[in-house]
Symmetry: C2
Subunit: 612 residues, 2 copies
C-alpha cells in the first residue's frame, strides 16, 4: 500500500472516531471508547482492504464483516455512512426510538447479517459464512472483529477449533485487544502473547500487531489467504485510543462523553480525512451466483399404514428427500448424527453436511451463518442439548435468522439414559424466542411434512422429535400446515377435549378407546403445531366439551403445551387441566416412566373421570 | 509405588471392566466401551492415589471426583462398590426403575456431587470445588475425568482458562483420550499433542501418558500438587480397552454386549483382583471443618419511603448485608459487577468473590461446585446472559444444586441498549427448571428480603432485577415469603384483578389511579413470587372480580407471568388476559418502549375498558 493511502486511512480512522463520539454523545449512552480502540482496524478494513459493493451490502460476493463486539456499533455505522450507504447526519439518530441504528447492531440494517451484542458469537457465524462461501465456490472473505474480553467465552474456542479443523483460510479474525473489560481489566491485559499461543494451539495462523499502526495493519491484511489456515490478527490497542483523557483509562466503559468532553476529544483527533467517493473501495470479483431458489415442491412421502417409525428417523428421511431438490438445504450435527439420523443426509450429500463435534453453541451460530448466506440450515442434536445454545438461539431470534433446529430424544420417553439426556424444557425455551415456530409431530408422516414446512417458511423453526418408534397414523397425502392441528376423535357429548402431541398422542388415543368401552367420549386433538397454536380449532372443540381441555405432554409443566393452551384460551373461558412431568425424572423403562409421571393413558382416564 | 501395588491395580482395573460389562449387559443399554478405556485410570485414582473415607463420601476433606464423561457411569459405580460403599450385587440394578444407579450419575447417590451426562461441565464444577477448598483452607484435591470428545465444548476452555488464571493446583483433570466419539472419530483422534498444546496455552501443567500403563499413571499422579498450576493428564487410551473385539473399534459407542459377547469379553480380562478391604485407600488429613452453618437471622433492611433504588442495586446491598453474618455466602460475576452491583460484595469480601470474566457457562458451573461444597453461591450477570448457561442451569436442576442466580437488566425497560441486552425469556427458561424458585421484586425492600429467602432455602433460585430505579413501596419490616404475593389495591366491585411484577407493577398502580378517577376499581397484586405462584391469593382475588385477571409483564408472552397464572388458574375457571412483549423489541427510551409494546399504564387501562 502506498504512503498516501496510509495517510488517508489515518485520517479516516480519526473521522470514524469523531462520528462515534458525536453519535454517543447525542444519544446520551453507548460505548465510544470501545469504538476508538478499533478505529484504525476499521478504517483499514473498510477503506483499503475489504472488497464490497457499498451500494449493495447484500451482494452475494461481497466480503462479509461481523462486528462481534457489538457494543462498538457506532463505529460500524460510521464506516457504512462514510462508505456512502446512508447520510452521515443519520448517525446522530443512534439509539433513538424509530431509528434502525440501535444500541447494538441488528439486521434491520442491510449491512448487518446477524445481530451482535451478546459477546462471543461472531466468530461462529463467520465460520458458517466461510463454509457457505466454500460450498458456493465464491471467493469472498469473512472478517470478524472480536473484543479481547469476549474471547473468554468458550463459544469462541469452539469456533476457533472448527475453523482450524476445516482450514477456513477465508475466515479472518481481528482481536481488538484493548486490555479493558466492562468492570475491570481483562485477565491477560496487554499480554497478547497469551492469545497468540491459544489461537496457534487451535490451528490458526497468528499475526500480532500494533493495532494503531495503519501501516502494520495494512501489511498484515495484504497477507490474507496466503495460507491454508484461518488467520487471526491480534491487534494490541488502547481503549479510547487517540484521546488523551480516555486512552487506556478505567471506568470509561459504556459511557458517553458530555458535550464539553466531546469537543475536547474531537479537537485532539487530527488529522481527519473523508474517504474519496467510490474508487477507494475495491470491488468484489464477478463469479456465478449460487442457486438459492426454493424448489417448486418436494417429492412425495411414502410410509405404509402399520409402519412403526421414530419421528427422529423420519426427520432424517425428510432431510434426504427435500435435500434432493432443494440445494439450499444444508445440515449440521454435533456428533449425534447416528441418533438424530442426520447421518442419512451426510451420506447422501457429504459436501452439504458439517460435523460440528460436541460444541452446540458454535454449531447453532455456524448454522446462523449459513442462513445469512441464503442456505436453509438444519441443525440436529438431542433436544436437551439445545439448551446449551439458548443464547445463540435467542440472538438468532433477534437476527430473524433462517434457522431450523431439530431436537431428538425429547422427554422422559427416552427411558434408561436418565434425566441428563431428557429434553423437558425445550418447548418452554423455544416458544419464548421472538417469532419462532415450534412443531412436535407424533408420527413419521407428520414429521416429514413438517420438515418441508420448515424449509419453506423463513425464520426460526424448532422440530421436537422422539426416540421411540411410533405407529404411522396419517396418510401420505395429508397436509400439516404450520398453525394447524388434527382432530382425531370427536363425538357428540364428549366429556372433554384432550390436547396431546408426540408420544402422548398415542396415550390419548388409548385413553379414548378405554373410555369408549365405558361409554365416555372424549375429543382428541393432535397439536403438532405448538407455536403458533391452532387456537381456533382447540377452542371450538373445547366449547363442545363443557369448555374443558386436558393437555398431556412429555415436558415439564412450565412453558410447554399446557401453558401454551392455557395462555391462549383461558381468556375465552376454557378450563385447562395440565398433565405433565411434575418432578425430577429418573432412569427406567418408557412405560414405567410414563406411568410414574402421570402422562400415560391411565392418567388421562383418571383425570377425565375426576372431572365429575 | 511398589511393584505389588501396580499388579494389584492392574487386577482391579480388570475387575472394574468386568463390572461395567456385566451391569450394562444386564441393563440392556449403556456405554461399556467408554468405561473400559478409563478403567486403568479409575483403578489408580480410587485404589492407590485419592484420599477419601469410602464409608463417608460426604466427608468434608475427602478428595472429590467428578465423572465429567457421565456416560461412563457404570465404572464409577463399580469403583464405589469395590471401595466398599455398597454391595457389588447392586451393580446389576443399573438403569432399572427405582435404582439410584441411573444411566448417568445423579446426586441421588451419596458419592455423586453433581449430575453429569451433559458433556463439558465437570471441569467447571471442579474449578468451583478447588476454589472452595482454598477458601476453606482444606487440602483435598478435585479430580475430573474428561472424555476427549467433550473437550470440544467451549465450556471446557472457559474452565481451563479460569483454572489457569487462578492457578488452581488442587485441580487435576484427566483426559481419557480414547479417540472415538459417538458417531465417528474425534477431530484429533490420537493426536494427543493437540490437547497438550491447548491446555498448555491455557495455563496448565500437562502430562501426556499411556492411559493403560498403570505404572505411568501412578507415577504422574505422584506429582500432583508439585506446581502452582492446575494439572492435566492426557491419557492416550483405547475405547473398549482390554477386549480384542471391542478395542479401538467403531460402532460400539453406547452399546451393551449381549450375553455371549459379555462372556467372551470377560474371559479375556485377566488377571483380576479385588481391592483389599480398607487399607488400600489413603485417608484424608484431619483439618478443621469449615463453618457452613446458616445464621440465626440477618441484619434489618433500612430504606426510606420515597427512596428510589433499582432492584439490581438492592441485590448488591443485600449481598453485603447477608454476607456479614452468613459465611456460606460467596459471589460470582462475569465482568458485569459494576452493573449488577455484586461489586459491593467484592469490595467487602474479596476472598469470597470470584471474577469469572465473560464466560457464563463456566461461571454457573463453578457456582454449582461451590454449592456442592456447602457454600451459598450467588451468581450475577444480565438476565439475558443466563441463557448462555441454560444447559448448566438445567443440569444444576438435576443435581438439585444450591444455586442462586440474579439476572439484572430484565426486559425492555433497559431501553437504549437494544434487544441483545434485554432478558425477555428468562422467566420461561427458569420456570422450566425442575424444582426452581423464580422471584421478581418490584422495589428495593422486597428485593432485599427475597435475597435473604434465597440464601435460606436450598435449591435453585432465580432473582430477576431491573435496570431503572423504582420507588420503595414496602416497609422495611414487611416479609416476602416464597410463594406469596402482595395485595396492593382491592375494593368491592373491582372490575378485574391485575397481576404484575417488577417494573409493570408501577404501571398497574398508575392504571389503578387513572381508572379510579373514572370510577372504575381494579385489584392490583404484586406477584413477586413467579414460581411457586401465590395461586390461592390470586384465585381468591379473581373470584371477586368477575373471574377476570389481566397479567402484565416485561417479558415475552410465552412462558412468563401470564402463562404461569393461566397455567395455574384456568382450570378454576379464571379468565386470564395477557399483556406482554409480543414482538421483537428495539432501542428506545424506557417509556417509549413500554408504550410501544403495550405494557404501560395506558395499555392496562385500555384493556380494562375493553372488557366491557
Amino acid at each position: 500500500m502506498i504512503d498516501t493511502d496510509i495517510e488517508l486511512l489515518k485520517g479516516i480512522a480519526n473521522q470514524l472516531r469523531i462520528h462515534s463520539i458525536n453519535a454517543t454523545t447525542a444519544a446520551g449512552s453507548g460505548h465510544p471508547t470501545s469504538c476508538l480502540s478499533a478505529a484504525d482496524v476499521m478504517a483499514a478494513l473498510f477503506f483499503g482492504h475489504m472488497r464490497y459493493d457499498a451500494k449493495n451490502p447484500h451482494y452475494y460476493n461481497n466480503d462479509r464483516f461481523i462486528l462481534s463486539k457489538g457494543h462498538a456499533a457506532p463505529i460500524l455505522y460510521a464506516a457504512w455512512a462514510e462508505a456512502g450507504l446512508f447520510p452521515i447526519e443519520d448517525l446522530l439518530k443512534l439509539r433513538k426510538y424509530g431509528s434502525d441504528l440501535e444500541g447494538h447492531p441488528t439486521p434491520r440494517l442491510p449491512f448487518v447479517d446477524v445481530a451482535t451484542g451478546s459477546l462471543g458469537q461472531g466468530l461462529s457465524v463467520g465460520a458458517g459464512m466461510a463454509l457457505a462461501a466454500r460450498l458456493d465456490k465464491l471467493d469472498y472473505n469473512t472478517y470478524v472483529l472480536l473484543g479481547d474480553g469476549e474471547i473468554a467465552e468458550g463459544s469462541e474456542w469452539e469456533a476457533a477449533s472448527l475453523a482450524g479443523i476445516y482450514k477456513l483460510n477465508n475466515l479472518i479474525a481481528v482481536v481488538d485487544a484493548n486490555r479493558l473489560g466492562q468492570s475491570q481489566a481483562t485477565a491477560f491485559g496487554h499480554d497478547i502473547g497469551v492469545y497468540a499461543k491459544r489461537f496457534d494451539a487451535f490451528g490458526w495462523r497468528v499475526e500480532s500487531i500494533d493495532g494503531h499502526d495503519i501501516e502494520e495493519i495494512a501489511e498484515v491484511l495484504s497477507g490474507v489467504g496466503l495460507d491454508d489456515k484461518p488467520l487471526v490478527i491480534i491487534a494490541k490497542t488502547y481503549k479510547g485510543a487517540g484521546v488523551s483523557f480516555l486512552q487506556d483509562q478505567e471506568s470509561w466503559h459504556g459511557k458517553p462523553l458530555n458535550k464539553d468532553e466531546a469537543a475536547r476529544a474531537i479537537a485532539e483527533l487530527q488529522p481527519t480525512t473523508r474517504p474519496a467517493a467510490g474508487a477507494a473501495i475495491p470491488a468484489p470479483n464477478q463469479l456465478p451466483a449460487p442457486n438459492n431458489a426454493a424448489p417448486a415442491g418436494y417429492p412425495p412421502v411414502s410410509y405404509k399404514p402399520g409402519d412403526s417409525v421414530a419421528t427422529r428417523e423420519a426427520f432424517g428421511n425428510a432431510l434426504v428427500r427435500i435435500g434432493e431438490v432443494d440445494e439450499r438445504v444444508v445440515a449440521l450435527d454435533g456428533d449425534t448424527k447416528n441418533s438424530t439420523y442426520s447421518e442419512k443426509f451426510m451420506k447422501k450429500f457429504p459436501a452439504r453436511f458439517t460435523e460440528c463435534f460436541i460444541a452446540e453453541q458454535n454449531m447453532v451460530s455456524v448454522a446462523v451463518g449459513f442462513g445469512a448466506r441464503a442456505k436453509v440450515p438444519f441443525v440436529s442434536t438431542f433436544a436437551c442439548f439445545f439448551t446449551r445454545a439458548y443464547d445463540q438461539i435467542r440472538v438468532a431470534g433477534i437476527s430473524q435468522s433462517n434457522l431450523k433446529l431439530a431436537g431428538s430424544h425429547a422427554g422422559i420417553s427416552i427411558g434408561e439414559d436418565g434425566p441428563s439426556q431428557m429434553g423437558l424444557e425445550d418447548l418452554a425455551m423455544m416458544r419464548a424466542i421472538a417469532g419462532s415456530t415450534v412443531l412436535y409431530p407424533a408420527d413419521a408422516v407428520s414429521a416429514e411434512k413438517l420438515v418441508e414446512q420448515m424449509a419453506l417458511v423463513k425464520g426460526i423453526c424448532y422440530l421436537r422429535t422422539s426416540r421411540p418408534k411410533t405407529p404411522v397414523i396419517y396418510k401420505n397425502d395429508e397436509s400439516f400446515p404450520i398453525g394447524g392441528a388434527k382432530m382425531l376423535r370427536q363425538g357428540a357429548g364428549d366429556k372433554a377435549t384432550v390436547v396431546a402431541a408426540g408420544v402422548t398422542l398415542y396415550e390419548a388415543l388409548k385413553a379414548a378407546d378405554a373410555l369408549k368401552n365405558e361409554g365416555i367420549g372424549i375429543t382428541v386433538i393432535d397439536a403438532y403445531s405448538i407455536k403458533p397454536l391452532a387456537k381456533d380449532i382447540i377452542r371450538t372443540a373445547a366449547q363442545k366439551t363443557n369448555n374443558t381441555v386436558i393437555t398431556v405432554e412429555d415436558h415439564y409443566a412450565e412453558g410447554g403445551l399446557g401453558d401454551a393452551v392455557a395462555g391462549e384460551l383461558s381468556a375465552a373461558g376454557i378450563k385447562i387441566h395440565k398433565l405433565a412431568v411434575m418432578s425430577l425424572p429418573r432412569s427406567g423403562k418408557v412405560e414405567e416412566l410414563l406411568e410414574h409421571f402421570g402422562i400415560d393413558a391411565a392418567a388421562i382416564v383418571k383425570k377425565i373421570k375426576s372431572l365429575g
